[in-house]
Symmetry: C2
Subunit: 276 residues, 2 copies
């Protein structure tokens, strides 16, 4: 197949490299900044630098841009995409874009399958992209009414390039779960490192500091868009966390060892039951 990757940041770049490493598909790379596309070509991550017009050759087009930028790109360039070909995205939110993405696919005659690769790093850009980024990770698909066959094609490709599992869901469940599994830890990490104690952590810190603070190294522009486009589920998770933190806070403040140990034991048993 010919596969077009639009946006050669960490996710798009990793798609290119993984496709070259694990498949025989031809990879067409498109990027707003030409120098990055040139770098990707020289690195052997793509076979050719594409233009919107060359999307006519692609069997699958994967949009690896900010959520709103995916819609803007398709509004402008959807006309070039071959009818019947597949378009998917990599956006971390789904309710906010899927309805428009479906509408655009109907307007231009291609098939839209929503997807979200559950992988990333606390750094950005093509330079940190990695052929192994997706190894063992979960690949989430929101079919949004796409034919079963197209969903299967996207799922197979994901497994071919290293994803460990595929989860099929709808935009609502996706966004609700992502608010907990991904967005909340990012909010937490930022709140955590804003403590005046943070700059003095060296010599006093180990794994638990490192793990909680890791994703504070955030792309502020991307994540503020993701948080605001998923406001309701994220607010619910923040309220739930606040409730649980308050219960722990009260037990500590009241020197109430029994309640505190009970709460910690509850957390322990949830985590132990889940295994991971």
């Amino acid at each position: 197949m010919n596969i077009a990757i639009v946006g050669l940041g960490i996710i798009g770049g990793s798609y290119c490299k993984a496709l070259k490493a694990h498949t025989a598909h031809k990879v067409i790379g498109l990027n707003r900044t030409p120098a990055t596309a040139q770098k990707a070509l020289e690195a052997g991550a793509i076979d050719t630098i594409g233009t919107p017009e060359s999307l006519a050759e692609a069997d699958i087009t994967i949009l690896c841009m900010y959520p709103q930028a995916c819609i803007d790109f398709l509004e402008q360039n959807g006309q070039y995409i071959r009818k019947g070909s597949i378009v998917t995205d990599a956006a971390g939110i789904k309710r906010a874009i899927c309805p428009q993405m479906v509408e655009l696919s109907k307007r231009f005659g291609y098939i839209f399958v929503g997807s979200h690769p559950m992988a990333g790093k606390e750094k950005n850009g093509f330079d940190v992209s990695d052929a192994d980024l997706f190894m063992g990770a979960s690949f989430i698909i929101t079919p949004c009414g796409a034919p079963q066959q197209a969903v299967g094609t996207v799922a197979s490709l994901a497994l071919d390039i290293g994803f460990g599992s595929v989860k099929i869901t709808d935009p609502e469940e996706h966004d609700r779960m992502i608010a907990f599994t991904s967005q909340l830890p990012h909010v937490l990490a930022c709140a955590y490192v804003l403590s005046p104690s943070c700059p003095n952590h060296r010599g006093f810190s180990a794994g638990s500091y490192r793990d909680v603070s890791r994703v504070a190294n955030i792309n502020a522009r991307l994540w503020s868009e993701l948080f605001l486009e998923n406001r309701e589920p994220l607010i619910e998770e923040l309220q739930e966390l606040n409730h649980n933190l308050n219960a722990l806070f009260d037990a500590i403040k009241n020197n109430d060892k029994e309640t505190l140990a009970d709460l910690l034991e509850k957390g322990h048993s949830v985590k132990q039951r889940l295994g991971e």
Copy 2:
């Protein structure tokens, strides 16, 4: 030297194994449950099973028990410890025990040097102890008035068995920093996994879920003691976190992209400046 390890859990067991792996010192192991000491002996982690009376042979005694248990142990057995020998601990809090530990050392004539190895796992017991647990970790010493030479002996031993650095501080700074670097992430992890979304995370989760939730697999009895014995600094850090979470919450709730991006950018720049 003869080194006695009292308490063969994950920390004590790891001390034994690291001493055997990296030094030629003789290791004497003491444990309340005899079967564990026997297991340590059979595993080659200790050279001999000790009794309180055999502490008379030890040049250094390392207490690897719950904070209050260290004091209880010394109250009962301090008489057996050789005068002029060194006693250190591994407790995660210092203000709550150091004054009594110093007093006991004066009563019985040995030298007390407080210490806290900044390493651990989200599991407990001798079975998960590991000769490499301390590799590259920070070793915190609170001298509490001990002679420079004794502090140097403890520091050298720590570096010999794999610690990457030694931090000398006082109980106040230790407890204030540990509240942030270690205790707060443990409180957070427990509060996080208590969300009703947690049991459904599979397929939707990746590194950020894994990292924040990891230490929820907590030893509830140990950590409730540690939290309550370090109440004031921990409450301060919880209030600071609450303040920062509220600021982020408000920005998200008010759809205030500018304030939200500013807060995330602040977190990002703290983390980026620190490098880790």
